[in-house]
């Protein structure tokens, strides 16, 4: 069995910064797990600890059934694909891929066979005798993968392997990676900051922030039931819209109007008024006139002036802003910073722009004031202080990373609140 | 941290060996210079009897009779003049090579390299003859000129590498902001070029200070004999005493300031010595 288990793994650097804080994760054998989060969240550090390139300060790390905390990388039977590929420039493609096998004293004929096989899988056969500098970015990336594949290790560790490729190539290679992993069935831990990659590639996704795992679950779970503001704002593109709201009883007052509270929200009904942050995804808006009668039951309409309309052919993205939609939350500021929004002056001042995805049939024009409808069953509500989703624990299917702990606490080790003492960052 | 005591001590031992290896010859010569003439042959590393006698002997006789003062002045003067002229010439050439495009650029650079590996001994004979004819034998210019020739490759090499790093469009930006070309040069380029010029100057100075072959071939008296040459021909107080002590003292006097200098400017020297050698 080659499952990977992190048990309260912590990484503390000599100057005191904690890059990874008590991370616990159970990665089942053969699964593809993605670690995703903004820069500096600790995902690469976690991966490097699994690889053995960083020491584990506290906690236990197991690969297969062995505790590997003190094992050197070469004794862990893992293979790694680096962000900049780290191909040996003085060796040919063949020699690059054969290198780990040679070091393991594998018989020459066997090496030949494995290298040729891997080359065939990755479509590299005609490049075997060339040097890395003669190859394109995509080819180099495949050689890096080839070097990992030939070893037939217990696990693949991939550190943002696609980020150096251009957009189109990235999409192509994404499917390649998924295909290869499915075929080989090797346990894979994959680090990326691109949430699209995370959503499309993984069996399981772990969102990290400042060294803490926020949520672990299937992509759809993270999308539909984010445990806190951070996950909600991080996952999904375009990002979820947020607005402040006041909750009292079974209604919540928002800039969109007064909305009914969705089922399942532990509102603490009858406790008087409470400030919340309301979240709604762009696709849960609709052009009011296109909403059929059935859906109208759950819809709430409001008027908005459209600042910008982008036609994508099959749908529209439209940007509008409403009075009083500005949300100040440090949980969201990190997401915004990661998306580069901190740099855009208009994003900082005044009201925040909202995004809606509207059907192509909508009759809308820039500058128009239109009536939009939102699906009230799909709104999320978050506590402004802790960031926690007021809807409580999502119902998982019981399997997967951290599932054993699901009974007592949320899946994985997710804590919506920011750690009491923030270490210097 | 997993780093054990073992790892720390291995590095410590290695570094200690290197530092000791570098320092021992220097400490030894200092030690010799401090030994009294009686104990100079006591074969021990540390002086058993200390005295500054050797240093006093060096300066006996004042500027005219002391075996050391004149050579010291010669060394300092010749090295300084060489440095100044060399840097000026090299800076002009390096500026052209780094910034302008003209045919023959590569040839000049190749030629510079060729001179760097030129065997100086091969020029000694003709120079000896030429200088005697021209009256430059045993004069300051007689040494400065060959020093210029052989230090220019070094200076040009270093300066070209530094100048290539300067973003020249800053000059244009300054002019757009309202500076005259000269002001732009003075306020923007000169400060950026200064470290490189300084580094090259240090390297040239050390080169001139260090030379021996030309010093003993092209000089014959205190008129222009530099310290390295003087050291080779040192005699002691009398014909029968070994000049070890005073030689050591002289060696210390010319060495310690340079070592202090080198230590103060290590970063510049290291970058100068390796500039362009392997760059990425």
């Amino acid at each position: 069995m080659s499952e990977i288990v992190l048990d309260e793994v912590t990484k503390r650097f000599p100057d005191g910064t904690e890059a990874v804080k008590k991370m616990s994760l159970d990665i089942p054998d053969g699964d593809f797990v993605i670690l995703v989060g903004p820069s500096g969240c600790g995902k690469s550090t976690a991966l490097r600890m699994i690889a053995g390139l960083e020491d584990v300060t506290e906690g236990e790390l197991k690969i297969g059934d062995r505790v590997v905390n003190d094992l050197a990388p070469k004794d862990r039977d893992i293979a790694m694909v680096f962000q900049n590929y780290a191909l040996y420039p003085h060796m040919t493609v063949r020699e690059n891929m054969a290198f780990p096998l040679k070091l393991a004293h594998v018989d020459g004929a066997e090496i030949e066979k494995k290298v040729n096989e891997a080359a065939k899988t990755l479509d590299l056969t005609e490049h075997l005798d060339r040097k890395p500098r003669a190859l394109s970015g995509g080819q180099r990336q495949r050689v890096a993968m080839g070097r990992a594949i030939v070893r037939d290790p217990q696990a693949f560790l991939m550190d943002e392997p696609l980020s150096n490729l251009d957009a189109k190539l990235r999409v192509q290679m994404r499917t390649e990676v998924a295909r290869i992993q499915a075929r080989l069935g090797t346990t894979t831990v994959y680090v990326t900051h691109d949430q699209t990659e995370a959503m499309t590639l993984g069996d399981w996704v772990a969102v990290m922030r400042a060294g803490v795992v926020q949520q672990v679950g299937r992509p759809t779970e993270l999308y539909n039931h984010p445990t806190n503001l951070f996950v909600a704002g991080f996952i999904g593109s375009p990002a979820m819209n947020f607005a402040p709201g006041t909750l009292s009883g079974s209604k919540v007052k928002t800039p969109f109007g007064e909305l009914p509270v969705p089922d399942g929200v532990k509102a603490g009904a009858g406790e008087g008024e409470r400030d919340v942050i309301v979240g709604i995804r762009p696709e849960h808006f609709e052009y009011a006139q296109l909403v059929d009668s059935e859906a109208r039951e759950h819809g709430a309409t409001f008027k908005a002036k459209l600042d910008l309309v982008e036609s994508l052919g099959a749908e529209y993205y439209t940007y509008f802003h409403l009075e009083g939609t500005r949300v100040d939350s440090e949980h969201l500021s990190e997401v915004a910073a990661d998306a580069g929004l901190g740099e855009i002056p208009s994003a900082k001042a005044g009201d925040v722009s909202m995004v809606a995805r509207l059907d192509e049939m909508s009759e809308i024009e820039e500058g128009q004031e239109v009536e939009l409808s939102l699906d009230t069953r799909r709104i999320h509500m978050f506590d402004p202080e802790s960031g926690d989703n007021l809807a409580g624990t999502p119902s998982g299917d019981g399997a997967g990373p951290g599932a054993a702990k699901a009974a007592e606490k949320p899946v994985g080790r997710s804590s919506g609140e920011a750690p009491a003492e923030e270490s210097s960052s | 941290m997993r780093r054990g005591i073992r790892e720390y001590s291995l590095w410590a031992i290695g570094e200690l060996l290197i530092v000791a290896g570098a320092l021992i010859p220097v400490l030894w010569i200092i030690s010799l210079s401090l030994k009294t003439p009686a104990t100079v042959a006591d074969q021990s590393f540390i002086p058993q009897e200390w005295s500054l006698e050797n240093y006093e002997t060096l300066f006996e006789g004042g500027i005219d009779d002391s075996p050391f003062i004149k050579p010291l002045i010669n060394s300092i003067g010749i090295a300084l003049i060489t440095t100044v002229i060399s840097i000026v010439l090299a800076a002009l050439a390096a500026y052209a090579i780094a910034r302008l495009d003209f045919p023959g650029k590569t040839l000049i650079l190749a030629g510079t390299l060729a001179i760097a590996i030129f065997p100086q001994i091969s020029t000694v004979g003709p120079l000896f003859d030429m200088w005697r004819t021209l009256g430059l034998y045993d004069t300051w210019p007689g040494l400065i000129i060959p020093y210029l020739t052989f230090s220019l490759p070094l200076a040009i090499y270093v300066l070209v590498a530094f100048f290539r790093e300067i973003p020249w469009d800053l000059e244009q930006a300054a002019e757009v902001d309202g500076a005259t070309p000269f002001q732009a040069f003075r306020k923007v380029i000169v400060p950026l070029a200064a470290p490189g010029v300084f580094t090259a100057a240090i390297l040239v100075f050390i080169f001139a200070w260090n030379d021996f072959l030309f010093a003993i071939s092209l000089t014959s008296s205190d008129a222009s004999r530099t310290v390295p040459a003087a050291l080779a021909f040192f005699t002691g107080e009398s014909q029968f005493t070994e000049p070890t002590g005073s030689t050591a003292a002289a060696a210390v006097i010319v060495t310690i300031p340079i070592i202090v200098f080198v230590l103060l400017f290590q970063r510049q020297i290291v970058s100068g010595l390796t500039s362009g050698a392997v760059k990425e």
């Binding site: 990388p73 | 010569i29 050439a93 020297i269």
Partner: protein
Amino acid sequence: MTSRTRSERRLGWMLCAPAVIAMLLVTAYPIAYAVVLSFQDLDLRFPEEGGFVGFDNYASVLSSSLWWTDLFNTLFITVISVSVELVLGMAIALVMYRAIFGRAVVRAAVLIPYGVITVVAALSWQFAFDPATGFVNNLPLIDDDKAWFGERFSSLAVIIMAEVWKTTPFMALLLLAGLTTIDEGLYEAAKVDGANAVQRFFRITLPLMKPAILVALLFRTLDGFRVFDTIFIMTRGAQDTESVSILGYNQLISRLNLGLGSAVSVLIFICVLLIAFIFIRGFGARTQDGRVA
């Protein structure tokens, strides 16, 4: 060609001119002059005699056993010094690159030999090994009476030690510069691929340092071939420890025989060219910018 390009060219030449002239003055002209002198019988002690003698001087030099002895000495010293310097320099470079503490101290220490005048270094080593004043003979395991400078090979040994001490720093710095060009990620990949430290050094570090090593070897070998100062101070060439440069000096300056001395000079020049040629064409040494063809 625009007038702008033309004036740029003119400016370029003008700026380079002083330096170029200064360099050619003391190299091109003298070497040409040396070639001319080498074909003459010109002994300054007997200036009345003399005249064109063709290749006679060369014949004398090449048939003299002294020349061949000196050539052997020079090559012997060069090859051994450079080899030792390469190994020591590599070790020091690795320490300066990888040590987990104290790197600044090592770098400072390594620069000290650079700041010491060659003559001073030679004197220090000479005094150390001198049977009368030196501390070396006092050390355990060494014969108290060993006359280091009384015999050929022990003298050569001390000469080599002094040369190595003086020039290893430069070698170490060049190699360090080469080390820093290697992408750290390669070492990590190698660690994951299963290589231990020794394997990483021989299979990743060394092959990737080949260009830097060749450049360092080229410069140091050419430098080493010109060894003069150290030998002059330590033995003045006695006990058959002369180098070719000392031979040249003796003929030219001591014996004032410009004809023979020039022949020696020209032969030295040819040897240097040969060495450079072998390194560049044979081993493919290249400096940055591919300036050396």
